[in-house]
């Protein structure tokens, strides 16, 4: 008995991780079982054939969007790293912008009665908007550009820390000493190393592309819809044919996402192999800096205009085409939101804060109580990968199925669990980076002085890592605060976050109220990131 107690005590972290691993494995195996037990090859082939165009469009759009996001992110990263590193702190505020508000903002910018059309009308003098002729090709284009630009701030922030970690400046100097051009240094040495280190963020983006609902339903093509939308359509539908499609759609989405990852990985290897054998004669990479600068300003401009337009929409009264600025203003939208949703707003902040803090504490305790930190990292890495590789919509469908089988636990508990697991990967990856960056000499010295691990954490690590903890909290908070599908799939509307209510309001008639909700939605995460960026001159993720 004592032996068992000792075993449990000494392997506390492993037991906890094994439990979490078991839960995630249960969720994944549940959906696998559900799908396989209901699998009918004939109906699957029939649906596959039926959905072929939808699958192709989804696959193509998501791969192109990811590639575009990576290229733009590299150009901006390169510009910021070499020229204006401090400007990266501005980007961190942008990652806190809610997806739904961003998509609505993009739609509003490019509509024939939208902001750009109004600017044009101001000079051209037309009082009636031009006829809208947006087809599927232009919808796909808007989807690709919109999604790519949305993911750029996230990739740049991680990309900057990668460049810093690999010491890109040093690599460049060494290549120049060997007589090669700076362009060769950038494209043949730095870019391949950078790209290899960006595997994980790219994986996150790919799985997001295949599971997001906001981008594909608001910006994506309609004929046919992308498979991300079709899953939710089937989820809602009372139409027997659409319900029947669900099983096939789960298999198709999982396979498409895995196939996309393989395709991107292969493409990456081919590109790296090709670049390694190339020499670029250009004496400087001025043009790449310029491109990076242009893209940086495009990203900033688009986000700024969207925030500006959303704030105008939230206070503008009867703001009709072709007026550029509303003639009268009121706080009616905000008043409505405050009267009806203030409690939900604060409870969403509270829930997101508690879950983020618990997640940070959970991982810190695991790391701090274990003697073999490397094994803990490996375990957490596997768990994070399991969560990230499976598209979110499918994971949540599985949780919803489990919830129906294990009815003893409340809907709230499943809801919090589904929120928690989605912040584990982000918290883990950032915490690990932070621990890796810590100078081990301090801990070593404290060990020699006989300071306990507990004391050394509070007296040495915590003060040194405080800014990192703040940043990790900010990212975890915003990831949790902007979760959306949980409120639809897991709780089926019974519980949700403020984000869900904003989405529902956008389906209503009052754009003013929905925009006011959108601004409120943006506020908490933005405030946290503004505080963080004020504390930092250099942002490190």
């Amino acid at each position: 008995m004592n032996g068992l107690r000792h075993l449990i005590k000494s392997n506390f972290s492993y037991w906890i991780l094994l439990f979490l691993f078991g839960l995630i494995a249960l969720v994944i195996s549940n959906i696998c079982y559900q799908v396989i037990s209901k699998l009918d090859i004939h109906s699957f082939l029939f649906h596959f054939n039926d959905l072929l165009i939808s699958i192709s469009i989804t696959f193509f759009n998501n791969i192109i969007a990811t590639i575009l996001a990576v290229i733009i992110a590299f150009l901006i990263t390169n510009y910021l790293y070499n020229k204006k590193f401090f400007k990266s702190s501005f980007l961190i505020i942008l990652i806190s912008f809610p997806h739904i508000s961003y998509c609505i903002g993009i739609t509003y910018l490019f509509a024939t009665s939208g902001f750009f059309a109004r600017l044009f009308a101001f000079f051209y003098g037309n009082n009636i908007p031009f006829i809208s002729e947006r087809g599927d090709a232009s919808s796909s284009l808007i989807y690709i550009i919109g999604l790519a630009l949305r993911e750029v701030p996230f990739l740049v922030l991680i990309g900057l820390s990668v460049l810093k970690k690999i010491n890109a400046m040093q690599i460049q100097k060494q290549v120049l000493v060997l007589g090669h051009s700076s362009l060769s240094a950038l494209l043949c040495c730095i870019f391949p190393i950078w790209l290899k280190s960006m595997g994980l963020p790219i994986l996150i983006i790919v799985t997001f592309c295949f599971s997001n609902y906001e981008f594909s339903s608001i910006l994506g093509p309609q004929f046919p819809h992308m498979i991300n939308v079709k899953i939710i359509e089937s989820w809602y539908s009372t139409n027997f044919d659409l319900i029947q499609q669900m099983n096939s759609l789960i298999i198709i989405t999982t396979l498409s996402s895995i196939l996309a990852l393989i395709a991107l990985y292969t493409l990456m290897q081919i590109l790296i192999g090709y670049l390694k054998n190339q020499k670029f004669l250009g004496s400087n990479n001025y043009n790449l800096f310029l491109l990076g600068k242009i893209f940086y300003f495009i990203v900033i401009a688009i986000f700024t205009i969207i925030i500006f337009i959303t704030s105008l929409l939230s206070i503008g009264e009867s703001w009709f085409f072709p007026t550029i600025i509303p003639s009268s203003f009121s706080l009616r939208g905000f008043n409505y939101m405050v009267d009806n949703y203030l409690w939900l707003f604060f409870s969403s902040i509270f829930i997101s804060s508690i879950i983020s803090i618990l997640c940070i504490l959970f991982i810190v305790i695991l790391i701090e109580t274990s003697k073999e930190t490397k094994n803990i990292y490996k375990f957490l890495f596997i768990i994070s990968l399991m969560i990230l590789v499976m598209p979110q919509n499918i994971m949540l469908i599985s949780i919803a199925n489990l919830m129906e089988q294990l009815t003893f636990f409340s809907v709230s508990l499943w809801f919090y669990f589904s929120l928690f697991i989605y912040i584990v990967p982000y918290t883990y990856f950032m915490l690990r980076q932070s621990y890796d960056d810590l100078n081990p000499q301090y801990i070593h010295s404290s060990n020699i002085l006989g300071i306990t691990r507990f004391k050394s954490f509070f007296l040495i690590k915590l003060p040194m890592m405080f800014n990192d903890f703040l940043l990790i909290f900010g990212v975890s908070f915003s990831v949790c605060f902007y979760q959306f599908l949980q409120g639809i799939i897991v709780t089926k509307g019974e519980h949700g976050l403020f984000n869900n209510e904003v989405y529902i309001l956008f389906s209503g008639e009052s754009i003013q109220t929905a925009s006011a909700g959108s601004m409120m939605n943006f506020l908490p995460a933005a405030l946290i990131f503004i505080i963080i960026s004020l504390r930092y001159r250099y942002v490190r993720v």
């Binding site: 006829i131 093509p221 309609q222 539908s237 009372t238 009709f320 009267d339 509307g493 309001l505 008639e509």
Partner: protein, 375 residues
């Protein structure tokens, strides 16, 4: 505090008179109306909680799962706003409590009115109580359109002469499907076929075939050349106000008036419909089979169909949803509550004949054919 913590982990009911009302939460005016009703019900010690859902199909899923798990007594949903295929699904799966038409204020409802007692062709049989009426209407910008279309040929004429200025919500959106049903009514010679199950239409079903041919003909002249559709009728409101489109459809004869009042539409907005008749339907309130507070839910239903609540609901300053009550069954004082302000934006009452919803099986048939043809 302890009860709160327990509630997070396991299913325990907290308040005995809290009614969890599942209703679509997208409309500010509707949310305000329900919120006000909640304030009024507090006098009866009832706490009405509006769970703002995106689609009532979510609720149907919860109830189906409850039944599968033998949860016959402790359901968390106490009241739902429902109609059409969702009601048909709930009724078919025996997920509703009934009869609920025994509440006192049901005396103001005309029991002989078929439009209130058949929900998309499905007999209501006491499983739901009428809450509001709707009729298919077209809302237009009178500055852009002098003479609005009132027949299918006039509509085609308008669409072809004003390319890009009309659209309808994408199928399977409820309102989009209703528009197609309205077109079916305009196209068939004998309306009675639409009241029979779809299976009675010999394959290939001529009316559906003709409808698809008609749509193929007009789609190139729609907004975005028929290659993109709005997701809901609410999405068409800002489009109409900005004159991206000049004509849209709706299912509330007072929608234009309410939206003009709230500043969502221009003052020149007017309402019309099909002169030969416009589809009308009713939306209902129902109690799930496993609600643990059925008596309190009945009290809430009784409140919602009271003359005062219905008058508030019909008021274009509040919601503008036409009443289900029979004015002839009321006292003069009660009738006066319904004589609200007249508005030039609303559909003139009794001018457009009321057509019954086609049998519910037509909905799925139309949706499937549309998706097959255009998706």
């Amino acid at each position: 505090m302890n009860v709160f913590l327990i509630n997070i982990f396991i299913n325990v009911s907290l308040y005995s008179k809290e009614i969890n009302f599942h209703a679509w939460g997208g409309s500010v005016v509707i949310n305000n109306f329900i919120s006000q009703a909640g304030q009024n019900l507090k006098k009866n010690d009832i706490d009405l909680r509006h769970t703002k859902i995106t689609d009532i199909a979510e609720t149907v899923k919860i109830l189906l799962s409850d039944k599968k798990n033998n949860n016959f007594k402790n359901g968390k949903i106490d009241l739902i706003w429902v109609n059409g295929e969702n009601f048909q699904r709930l009724k078919k799966n025996q997920l509703l409590f009934g009869p609920v038409d025994q509440v006192n204020n049901y005396m103001y409802i005309n029991r002989k009115d078929a439009s209130l007692h058949f929900d998309f062709g499905e007999p209501v049989e006491g499983f739901e109580v009428p809450w509001g009426r709707a009729q298919f209407v077209m809302i237009y910008d009178s500055q852009m359109i002098d003479k609005p279309p009132q027949t299918i040929s006039q509509l085609v004429h308008f669409i072809k002469n004003n390319p890009g200025r009309f659209t309808y919500p994408q199928i399977p959106n409820f309102h989009g499907t209703t528009f197609l049903k309205q077109l079916l009514y305009e196209m068939v010679e004998d309306n009675s076929i639409l009241q029979k199950p779809f299976s009675s239409c010999l394959s290939p079903c001529k009316p559906i075939e003709n409808l698809m041919l008609f749509l193929k003909d007009i789609h190139p002249f729609l907004w975005n050349k028929g290659k993109r559709f709005p997701n809901s009728i609410s999405e068409t409101i800002p489009m109409l106000s900005n004159r991206e489109i000049w004509l849209t459809i709706n299912f509330n004869p007072n929608a234009a008036a309410t939206n003009v009042k709230n500043g969502n539409l221009r003052d020149v907005t007017r309402t019309t419909s099909f002169i030969n008749g416009a589809i009308g339907n009713t939306h209902y309130l129902a109690i799930p089979f496993n609600s643990s507070k059925k008596t309190v839910s009945l009290e809430v239903i009784n409140y919602f169909i009271s003359p005062q609540s219905q008058a508030d609901k019909a008021n274009i300053e509040i919601w503008g949803d036409p009443t289900v009550l029979d004015l002839n069954k009321m006292s003069a004082e009660q009738q006066n509550m319904f004589l609200g302000k007249q508005s030039i934006h609303v559909l003139p009452s009794n001018k457009f004949p009321y057509l019954l919803e086609p049998h519910h099986s037509w909905t799925e048939a139309i949706e499937n054919e549309w998706l097959k043809t255009f998706n």
